[in-house]
């Protein structure tokens, strides 16, 4: 029988919670040292494991070099729709909760909801002859959300980090960002608009579509 190839997040809370989840199922990680990417389970030799970046795990399940993995729903949904043909969500897990939200400067008190944002974006374009910029690490989800809510006059600005700072450095006017408690947004003088939740995300157990789920009975 072929071994099940499994990918787990390589760092942070997602890694810790994933390890904890497998331990709770009686599978303890056997990993010789922290620099070694590969692991196995002490109690079950049917698995070949690897620690990877959460995004990389989805890529590898998509190209079938991994059978199973744990990653964020936000990361999967941000990828082109074709990925969802190959990567199946087996289970939404009870950790890694975060929301992708639209946030504006706290002092924009005239913008409370998406309808306000739609109006302001048109007014902004008329006044400044350019489109409002939205800084984000999630261009696809943000674009789809804004267009579906009637906000068409915007321009996406790709961000690699510190997205919350963009409206105050002149690089964007508003942001869409992932947040668990909202405190980082608050600390950076940003406010989530009332109907601006793009996605409710959590960690997910993902499997390749061609993978036989029956062989993963421990997650039933």
């Amino acid at each position: 029988m072929n071994k099940i190839k499994i990918g787990l997040p390589s760092k942070g809370r997602l890694k810790d919670e994933s390890i904890k989840l497998f331990s709770s199922k009686g599978l303890n990680i056997q990993n010789t040292n922290s620099r070694n990417y590969f692991f196995s389970f002490e109690e079950n030799s049917n698995f070949d494991g690897i620690f990877l970046h959460a995004r990389e795990i989805i890529e590898r399940i998509n190209d079938k070099t991994l059978d199973v993995g744990i990653s964020g729903l936000d990361l999967l949904m941000e990828l082109p729709d074709e990925y969802q043909n190959n990567v199946k969500i087996l289970k939404k897990l009870n950790f890694g909760f975060a929301d992708l939200v639209v946030a504006v400067p706290n002092d924009w008190l005239d913008v409370q909801n998406i309808a306000d944002l739609e109006e302001v974006s048109f007014e902004f374009k008329e006044k400044y002859n350019r489109r409002m910029r939205v800084a984000t690490k999630y261009p696809k989800l943000t674009e789809d959300f804004l267009l579906s809510r009637g906000v068409t006059e915007f321009k996406l600005v790709g961000s690699l980090g510190a997205t919350e700072s963009y409206p105050f450095t002149g690089s964007a006017e508003l942001v869409s960002d992932i947040t668990s408690t909202g405190s980082t947004l608050k600390e950076n003088n940003l406010r989530i608009i009332s109907d601006g939740k793009i996605l409710k995300s959590s960690a997910c157990l993902l499997v390749s579509k061609s993978f036989n789920i029956k062989s993963l009975s421990l997650f039933k």
Binding site: V104, P105, D107, W108, L109, D110, Q112, N113, A115, D116, E118, E119, V120, F122, E123, F124, K125, K127, Y128, R130, R131, M132, R133, E143, L146, L147, S148, G150, T152, E153, F154, K155, L156, P167, F168, G170, A172, E173, L174, S194
Partner: protein, 354 residues
């Protein structure tokens, strides 16, 4: 010869004939750029257009698109030519668009456009395109005046914000329906939120009015906020307006009767529509010029999906196949960076002719 080669030869022959007709009517041929600056298109149509345009990045990272539309390509070239006075232009080429599934569709088109004309160009364009289809029997013309819808909305008892919203999203059919539902149920009212906003206004008023917050001036934020809370958000009759809009969009009548029917509709609903007589006169004039031999229908829904139409819009069909489509686009050139210029044009769908 293979079928594809026969088709290609046919297309070339028909194109030559049509371009000759256009030439005799005084239209000068121009060769249009196949690639358009994506930013320029997005500046005009917003990000939504990217969903149906084929976009690339050049070596410097600049986004470019294969032209999704030949009227836009003509308008861009008109701006680049920097000519003054009336221009009568014709073109021939392909437009590249993605369908909902993301598959590329290529539309071969021949068109003619009149830009910056001091007289009304609609009949010249319509008769020029119609002359191509002289030998076609049982064809039908569908006609509408997009500006009439805008003026209808402006005549309704609605907050300004709602009027603007309905006009802006008229071309997006599904979202427009959603807006009507919201208007019908007063969905966007939230007096609790307004109260909280109002409490915070004092804090903002103490700041320097020219201070920039997230790209907007403090004065601008205060002005919009005050305008917003003064809007009679909960005391307008949304349902009545929705019914008027829905009833108006159902109007589909022979052109010869359209002016009378629209007039009766306006009277029945006690509306005061700006420029109504001007529009009705245009419809009556077109009816007279086109004569009784043509089958012409006024359809209040027609042409809404073409975002840049501002006035008359028409389609020439045979059975359910659209042979040509055109309309007035008086704001397109300005939004692409040129001067405000009236324009009217039409394109023949060559794929359907073959």
């Amino acid at each position: 010869m293979t079928k594809a080669l026969v088709n290609k030869k046919n297309k070339e022959n028909i194109s030559k004939k049509i371009l000759n007709i256009f030439k005799k009517k005084g239209f000068n041929f121009i060769d249009l750029d196949i690639v358009i600056d994506t930013d320029l298109l997005a500046q005009r149509s917003g990000e939504a257009f990217k969903k149906y345009a084929l976009n690339f990045k050049d070596k410097s990272g600049k986004e470019i698109s294969l032209r999704p539309d030949l009227t836009i390509a003509t308008a861009i070239q008109y701006i680049q030519r920097k000519k003054k006075g009336t221009e009568k232009l014709s073109y021939f080429g392909s437009a590249f668009r993605l369908n909902k599934k993301g598959d590329l569709k290529v539309f071969d088109q021949i068109g003619c456009e009149i830009i910056n004309s001091k007289s009304s160009p609609e009949y010249l364009i319509l008769s020029t395109v119609l002359s191509v289809f002289n030998k076609f029997k049982k064809k039908q013309i569908i006609l509408n005046h997009i500006g009439l819808f805008d003026n209808l909305i402006n005549s309704l008892n609605l907050p300004e914000r709602w009027k603007l919203r309905l006009i802006r999203h008229y071309s997006r059919k599904e979202y427009f329906e959603e807006l009507l539902n919201r208007l019908d149920t007063n969905y966007d009212l939230d007096n609790e939120k307004i109260k909280i906003d109002y409490n915070r206004l004092g804090v903002l008023k103490k700041l320097d009015a020219d201070k920039i917050i997230g790209g907007r001036k403090v004065a601008e934020i205060i002005e919009r906020f005050e305008k917003k809370i003064k809007d009679p958000r909960d005391n307008f009759n949304g349902s009545r307006s929705v019914k008027i809009i829905k009833d108006f969009l159902k109007l589909k009548v022979p052109l010869k009767k359209s002016a009378d029917i629209i007039k009766k509709f306006v009277e029945k609903n006690d509306l005061k529509i700006k420029n109504l007589n001007h529009v009705l006169l245009k419809l009556n004039n077109l009816n007279k010029k086109l004569g009784t031999k043509q089958d012409v229908i006024f359809d209040a829904k027609f042409g809404r999906e073409t975002q840049y139409y501002t006035g008359l819009a028409f389609s020439i069909c045979k059975q359910s196949i659209e042979l040509a489509r055109g309309g007035e686009y008086n704001n397109l050139i300005k939004t692409l960076g040129g001067k405000q210029s009236p324009a009217f044009g039409a394109a023949i769908n060559l794929n359907q002719l073959i």
